[in-house]
Amino acid sequence: MHRQARVYVKTAFVQLLVSVIVGALLLINAGMPLHPRLGLLLPVYYHLLMVGWATQLIGGVALWMFPVLSRDRPRGNERLGWIAYGALNGGLLLRAVAEPMHAMTPRPWSAWTLAVAALLQVCAVWLLVIALWPRVRGRPDMNRSRMGGG
């Protein structure tokens, strides 16, 4: 497993841990009220789980396991994967802070932070799709300086 895939998968597990802690707080709050505004974390919980954990884990494993492109550049442009990683986790972090704060007290800074978080996450996903797209293919022709696949 190459370094990029390890970083994706380990970060996905950290996000899973954080999301189940948030989910646990929401569950406790539903039966034994801790704070009236804790429920504002519900969309953050969903997105930490589905974007931070599921999508990031799938992305990391796909970057590792999908058929390689060529002997020279087996995984294509790895820089795309790194930019996607930074944008995905940066966008999620901004969202996790700004979304509940904006729901409590809307302010211009929190409104624009949400817009930036959205832009970062969309860019991250599109870059990940661009990085993976050429590697989704059938068995390559071994006679044309390609390898792997199957």
């Binding site: 624009w112 817009a115 199957g150």
Partner: protein
Amino acid sequence: MPRVSVFMIRTALIYLALGALIGGMLLADKGVHLWPSFWTWRTGHVHLMLLGWTVQFACGTAIWILPRLDAAGTRGAMWLAWLCYGALNGGVLLATLSAPFAGMAGRERVAWMTPVAAFLLVAGIAAFIGHVWRRIRPFGSVPARVT
């Protein structure tokens, strides 16, 4: 990677890109209120991301990577995998478009879309399970491939 897996995984990536775009617009709208009518796509965002992206990606990868049935590398009934592809995507598209279409054309005229979507989604997943069931087997139960 078999052709059906290429189709499923690439379609899943397209849904991921579309679902993220819709989700990004909804999140930005929470802050800057540029397109409030776009909230009719919220249910579609959930369907695209859960079924169109996550489930379809998992199905496509499983069809590619699960153990083969024999030493010749047979994957079994591929028509079931193609049925899964068609039904799952039909269901995802209908479920995604039903709420925005209801807003445009009226709820009564599109009332058929969600029941048909539900039927297609169940049929798609049943076809997938029908395809992969025999391929879930222990290591060593398939003889080594002769090349």
